[in-house]
């Protein structure tokens, strides 16, 4: 081959290497603010914001929403790292922004923090009941479900008080958003936790116009607890009230979402009796007669007698076990009764999944009543029977 030509080709290929600069648009992960949690409250400018506004930070907006963006990691000075636990500083940074468009609030963030925010790891969204009472959830979550970074797997929670307080933790080293995310997984330990409501599911439910419940949070002194549920009425998608822990438990039984937990009651002498749920099964049968729609809920569960304070009774005695089963069944029935009363008579919403049962079992009837379902549901009859079996009594017979 002609040597000139070879040199030329060689030089050309070297030149082409220059084109392979690779990731010129890269951003170091340490230099990003990873948005892990978002709390939405009724718009109220914080002191800091008011001062900033006085200094000239203003743009045309209505102060409808205060968004608290939780980001990690936090920059730590060297001295702080060495001083260790003597002065514990949080692992996260909460930034409050007030305005209307949530997307704009996100972008305002860049005016205050130099590290650009990314949404890929958003784990939880906490909405205060106050805000969701005033505003359609659909509007609040529109940006979140449309954004291409934020994953629809993020969790939606309701907070009784200010949502931003749910994103504060008194334990050092704890990141509240991760904390909340993991706590939902405790369903197998406690039946007062609702099945996680992720954005994907919520989007479908909101579009169908049915009512739903979201896990409620209460917080005090930097501690956050799951407590009951916020009831959101379909169609308007606004918060109308809360269910307490007891009712959430009952609802979980009705929805067949029990994975574990306890039923506690008292025997006739007032001593504690506790039942550990090993398995639970719920069946709902719908009956349609003319215009009357009725439901029959039957619950069956196997479990263990785990605690009885009345030591004169021994679980090896069949009669006592039968008696204990009776107490537990009574307790569960009471719970169901209260729950159904609350959702039918007080809130007039179907959050127990009865609509799905009717849709599947009587699709033609469902089509007729789905427009005014919550009202129809409030008038329908719900009966239930409960069967609890104590199968064993653990490692202690007396």
């Amino acid at each position: 081959m002609d040597s000139m030509k070879r040199y030329f080709l060689f030089a050309l290929s070297i030149l082409f290497v220059l084109c392979l600069t690779g990731c010129w648009g890269n951003r170091e992960i340490e230099d990003l603010s990873v948005n892990v949690g978002l709390a939405l409250d009724v718009g109220e400018e914080s002191e800091l914001e008011q001062e900033l506004a006085k200094e000239g930070d203003s743009y045309p907006k209505k102060n409808l929403i205060t968004a608290t963006l939780q980001t990690v990691p936090v920059l730590k000075g060297k001295s702080e790292k060495q001083s260790g636990s003597s002065k514990s500083s949080p692992m996260y940074l909460n930034t409050e922004e007030t305005g209307d468009s949530i997307f704009q609030l996100y972008r305002q963030f860049s005016l205050r923090r130099y590290r650009p925010i990314i949404g890929h790891h958003l784990k939880v969204i906490v909405i205060s009941s106050e805000l969701s009472r005033k505003m359609d959830l659909n509007k609040l979550l529109k940006f979140i479900s449309r954004d291409n970074d934020i994953r629809p797997s993020c969790l939606i929670l309701i907070s009784k008080e200010k949502a931003s307080e749910a994103l504060i933790s008194s334990q050092s080293g704890d990141i509240p958003s991760f904390h909340l995310r993991s706590m939902v997984e405790n369903q197998f330990r406690n039946n007062k936790i609702l099945a996680p409501m992720i954005l994907t599911k919520l989007d479908g439910i909101m579009n169908s116009g049915s009512s739903f419940i979201l896990q409620n949070l209460v917080s005090a002194k930097g501690e956050v607890e799951f407590a009951g549920a916020g009831v959101i009425k379909g169609k308007i998608n606004k918060w109308i009230g809360t269910l307490n822990e007891h009712e959430v438990e009952g609802l979980n039984w009705i929805r067949g979402e029990i994975e574990g937990g306890v039923i506690k009651t008292y025997d006739k002498s007032g001593e504690v009796l506790a039942y550990e749920i090993k398995s639970a099964k719920t069946k709902i049968k719908t009956k349609v007669q003319g215009n009357d729609i009725s439901f029959h809920v039957s619950i069956e569960s196997d479990g263990r007698l785990i605690e009885n304070w009345d030591t004169s009774q021994v679980p090896t005695d069949d009669k006592f076990l039968k008696e204990a089963e009776g107490y537990f069944e009574e307790e569960l029935k009471e719970m169901l009764h209260k729950t159904i009363h609350k959702i039918q008579e007080v809130y007039h919403v179907d959050v127990g999944g009865f609509n799905n049962k009717l849709r599947i079992q009587h699709p033609k009837v469902w089509k007729k009543v789905k427009k005014e379902w919550d009202e129809t549901f409030s008038q329908s009859d719900i009966t239930y029977d409960v069967k609890l079996n104590i199968t064993d009594y653990g490692s202690s017979t007396k």
Binding site: N148, R151, S153, L199, P363
Partner: protein
């Protein structure tokens, strides 16, 4: 492996080409487009019915091609209806293929820009894609077939794994009841399902390249069943997780399904990237085969060398791909092109077959 010089493809390769062509941008939007029309969870029945209809149309095409062994439709259509109408029909088909390849490449660019390469300019994505495609098709149908043979198994495995992993958020109640509102919704969905099964029309040229053209129908049946099964699984898993009301709200429901869960402790947490990667490969295959079909048509229509035509088509496809101004125009463009195909490859072959049978044109008895 020995290199073939006669550029023929085996029956298995034909199957693979049909499957790869069918699996295009449809997988990503199918659950939404179908549910929008059906409005219940019965879309999967529409899928099966649509597949049956497609099969009939496909068999017509294969039978037609078998009347003219060794020739593609571009070559024999003039024998059937005369040179003027024949050329016009060929031209329409060529335009169709060019439009489909442009559409596919644009959809690919849009999704890539949304989820993968946010700030990469569209021309950079589209052009690199087109040049690689060109590189592939200049070597002829045999190279295309061999590449597709590599792509298809990967696609099937990755798609199945992704769908299987999503079972965590699958809820059977979302796909019940079956036929709750009767058969009517299913019929409504037929138009959409026929459109997602587009791809069978590649049989207008493939029998000419087959070693055993008499096995055309068999290849067609197997080739279309693979996408059917994949579509069925995808549809049921997506609707099962997102529910009927959720699916219609999502622009790319299949991707949203993947984005709705993370699997911790399995080396990878997020699986939408796998889906996107295999799906880009599938779009690539759809793009190349339509590109090839278009250039082959032009070459045979004007009896010119195929290579310069391929180079010449590049700018045309590029311009057509960038014509739609926004997502709505893009989806409208896709709908329009697909509905054209119903006439072009659904009704026309039946007519042509009738004419051939009545006037006894072509080589009636082929020797295999």
């Amino acid at each position: 492996m020995f290199t073939r010089t006669d550029d023929k493809i085996t029956t298995a390769q034909t199957v693979v080409i049909i499957s790869c062509y069918m699996l295009g941008s449809g997988v990503l939007t199918l659950p939404r487009t179908l549910t929008e029309r059906v409005k219940t969870a019965d879309g999967w029945i529409s899928l099966i019915l649509g597949w049956l209809i497609i099969m009939l149309a496909g068999i017509c095409i294969v039978k037609l091609c078998q009347q003219f062994p060794g020739k593609t439709i571009y070559q024999f259509v003039q024998e059937i209806v005369g040179s003027w109408i024949g050329s016009c029909l060929s031209m329409l088909m060529i335009l169709y293929f060019v439009a489909i390849s442009a559409f596919q490449i644009r959809v690919m660019a849009e999704v890539t820009m949304l989820y993968l390469l946010e700030s990469t300019p569209i021309w950079a994505i589209v052009m690199s894609f087109m040049w690689i495609g060109l590189y592939l098709i200049t070597s002829g149908i045999n190279s295309i077939a061999r590449l597709f043979e590599i792509i298809l198994p990967i696609t099937i495995i990755v798609l199945l794994i992704c769908m299987f992993l999503s079972s965590k958020i699958f809820d059977i109640n979302n796909v019940r009841p079956v036929l709750g509102e009767g058969l009517f919704p299913v019929i409504r969905g037929l138009k959409t399902t026929i459109l997602v099964f587009l791809g069978y029309e590649i049989m207008i040229i493939l029998p000419a390249f087959m070693q055993h053209p008499q096995k055309g129908v068999k290849a067609l049946i197997i080739g279309t069943s693979i996408p059917l099964v994949l579509y069925l699984i995808t549809f049921i898993m997506v609707v099962g997780a997102l529910s009927v009301d959720g699916v219609v709200r999502s622009t790319w429901p299949t991707l949203d399904l993947m984005r709705s869960f993370e699997i911790t402790g399995l080396l990878f947490e997020r699986f939408e990237f796998f889906l996107l990667v295999i799906w880009i490969m599938q779009i690539f295959s759809t793009f190349t085969i339509t590109f090839y079909a278009g250039s082959l048509g032009l070459a045979q229509l004007f009896q010119k060398n195929i290579q310069p035509i391929m180079y010449g088509l590049i700018p045309i496809i590029y311009i057509v791909a960038l014509l739609p101004k926004n997502m709505n125009e893009l989806f409208d463009f896709g709908d329009f092109v697909s509905s054209v195909s119903i006439y072009l490859f659904g009704l026309l072959p039946v007519l042509l077959l009738l004419i051939t049978k009545i006037f006894k044109k072509g080589a009636v008895k082929e020797d295999g």
